[in-house]
Symmetry: C2
Subunit: 162 residues, 2 copies
Amino acid sequence: MAAEPRSGCPINLTIELLGDQWSIVVLRDIMFGGERHYRELLNHSIEGIASNMLADRLKRLVEAGLLSKADDPSHKQKVIYSLTEPAIQLVPLMAQLGAWGRRHRPASRELSIRAQLLEEGGPKMWDAFMNELRHLHLGAARPKRSVIAELQAAYLAEVARG
Amino acid sequence: MAAEPRSGCPINLTIELLGDQWSIVVLRDIMFGGERHYRELLNHSIEGIASNMLADRLKRLVEAGLLSKADDPSHKQKVIYSLTEPAIQLVPLMAQLGAWGRRHRPASRELSIRAQLLEEGGPKMWDAFMNELRHLHLGAARPKRSVIAELQAAYLAEVARG
């Protein structure tokens, strides 16, 4: 992103920051997949992100204030990435990206069920999901509802349907 | 975009199609600004899109089924671009792009008021806006409510506030 924004339009400013082929996909893996380490993000990427691309995106997302990085106390020599509050607030945008993609693009059945649930759950579910992410990434209190568990169970049920 | 998608994930598929620096911005100008001709889109671009970039994006958006092009009966030698139904259904995504950008990016006051109204108006306003776009771009009946007029009036009032 250039130092000087192209315009002060809020849509443009979001695109200047996130309008590329990988930033949102990396944030998706951290947000929905719970991947927090470079090696996990690399090895579990269903889109097959290249190592140098992943390293570059993580660096840029940290610089942009969407991720924070810290030494992982449970894994020596490993860095753990956390979503920041602005990144957590991308949940409604993620929901709309998925809602549109499952209607208008050749999405697979197994990979669409979470998008469907997130769309049908609406703002109430997005708020619960954001609260869960604040617990997992920012140390906030654990909420009663686990949207991640709901989405994961629905995904596994779809996979089991075969 | 590659012929073969990177994955069947609906979020990824949307990003594969629209994850770049200009596609959404061009669609925004057609959707909110009512620009329908190449020359208007070029000359009115507040981000200063380059002519070859604009031509390339328009071509790709037509190929992707998000825009249709036709000879404009009121302007000889001019091509008019129309949003397709899938593009019109990007309205909720545009609303979230604007909602996030006005909170977390250095958006200008004048250019944020439409994003604010669209966010506060919620799905009801988005539906009305989509119906208006179906009238303007797809020949559907004219709805009573004009969201474009509401947004434009609010924008002009902000500009007048100076």
